[in-house]
Symmetry: C2
Subunit: 300 residues, 2 copies
């Protein structure tokens, strides 16, 4: 089965022509959702992917990611966890591509991790459904890493951490990151993981304290400034993992969906907890997830 | 006894002529440490306070705050906790005011909250020594709130939290604060304190998750956008208090040194933990602390 996909995030547009789980052709541009105004989305899509629409008049068209957010093409209301391919396919939101053709926006997911609390995702639901995990814990680690509990092939619940964005704002906008120097000494990452252990269990001292303490270690000459940036990364990653293990229990293994360099840091950090980690390719997972949803949509 | 003081922070210069604990005269300007280059400090001090030096030829001169940091007039090495007026007076660092006159920079304090970990303060040590607490817990709440354990009239140890700065960068530079709208609904502060309780004890979910969850609550229409900013403030304050109570135990009461509006938020938050809080005036505490150090210096 051939289908056409736009993986349309905040900063990037990526189009794919797919047959089963093989990419036949692809395009990409910086026409992410944040670069566009209301009303521009159809034109961008037709310019990038119009030739596939004409060549494949029967191919279903799926759109995934922030394209379904309030700032996107059409807001696709979140589906609620637990959710698998069937629930997601039922909640697809159509958009008009012209000449009687429709595209379908994949809705994000909402979950209530505690009474009154909320968490959301847009895009990762598709990735995760393509990871081949029926039961288990997945970490999809981008700017806002998400830990996702799979049960019976559906997304049972999940928790998002602002780890990557926090690291960026601490480096760019905070007093905490200011003493950091380059070249970085990667040994700082492990020191940061160790520091995060002070924030686990009952003896927890608070992440806001550990962050200040990182700076204090440098200005009091207890830590070299070249260690600070990797230390902050390790501290934030370690605190994320502490929280995820507290929320989802302590599995034997975790599946990591992330760029290779970042994924290796999670493997390393989880090893300290005695947890194995298996890295899977994100693009492959995305396409497999899209294929599952498109098949389900065709059935429905 | 008359003495002359510069309370010289990152952004402000404040000069005082003091008799015992009464302010006889004062000046202030925006010539904070961050606005000055090396070599400019004496000129600024003489221009602001020179007339007091001439009128009071025998008055001791103390300088307190970031003026003793690496970016200040002269770096005053941190004294190490535990430290009281005697230890601090012994570690004063002289600077030359001309015509044979000297000023003395009050050193900051260093403490090691855990093996290999570090925390520092500059300025708060003086404030805290003037709070009139021999034994007990003090919270000095500015941009980087500090929780300080007093024992036998000395600063036993302390922990700093980047709460205020974190709030500012989340509002100004992060996706987390972007959906916040005004006018703010102050009820959000209590909702944030409640959320922080999910990060206390063994069930802790992680501050990085709770921060993302705040945004998720708004974009999924579970929380009104006018609640978001006070919610973030409550969440950060609550997490700070969780950490401080875990580090310093759970006292019957805490002394708060902070601007009145901020101090009231701490009183409110601590009440939820069944802890009484007494607010003390920060300027009065600073001057009392200076008086203690100046007396000790005169003795030595």
């Amino acid at each position: 089965m051939r289908f056409i996909v736009a993986d349309w995030g905040t900063t990037r547009f990526r189009g794919y022509l797919i047959e089963n789980e093989t990419v036949l052709d692809q395009v990409s541009s910086d026409e992410g959702v944040s670069a566009l105004q209301k009303g521009q989305h159809r034109d961008v899509f037709l310019r990038q992917c119009g030739r596939w629409l004409q060549a494949e008049p029967d191919a279903p068209v799926l759109l995934v990611g922030m394209v379904g957010s309030r700032e996107g093409w059409v807001e696709a209301p979140y589906a609620t966890c637990p959710a698998g391919p069937a629930e997601i396919a039922r909640a697809l939101v159509p958009v008009d591509l012209g000449e009687g053709r429709k595209g379908y926006i994949i809705p994000g997911l909402f979950c209530e991790p505690a009474p009154g609390a909320a968490d959301v995702m847009r895009g990762e639901e598709t990735l995760v459904l393509g990871a081949g995990i029926e039961d288990g814990l997945i970490c999809s680690a981008g700017t806002h890493p998400k830990w996702i509990l799979m049960r019976g092939g559906r997304i049972e619940r999940f928790a998002t951490y602002m780890t990557g964005e926090m690291y960026a704002i601490l480096r760019e906008h905070s007093m905490i990151g200011r003493p950091a120097t380059e070249p970085e000494d990667p040994k700082g990452f492990d020191l940061g993981l160790e520091a995060a252990e002070r924030n686990a269990g009952e003896a927890r001292v608070g992440l806001l304290h550990l962050l200040f303490s990182a700076r204090a270690s440098v200005v009091s000459n207890r830590m070299h400034s070249s260690l600070l940036a990797p230390y902050l990364s390790g501290l934030l990653t370690g605190d994320e993992i502490n929280g995820a293990l507290a929320q989802f229990g302590r599995p034997d293994s975790v599946t990591i969906l992330a760029a290779p360099e970042r994924a290796e840091l999670y493997v390393h950090a989880l090893k300290r907890h005695g947890i194995k980690a298996e890295i899977k390719d994100t693009q492959q997972a995305l396409i497999a997830g899209l294929a599952r949803i498109v098949r389900q949509h065709a059935l429905g």
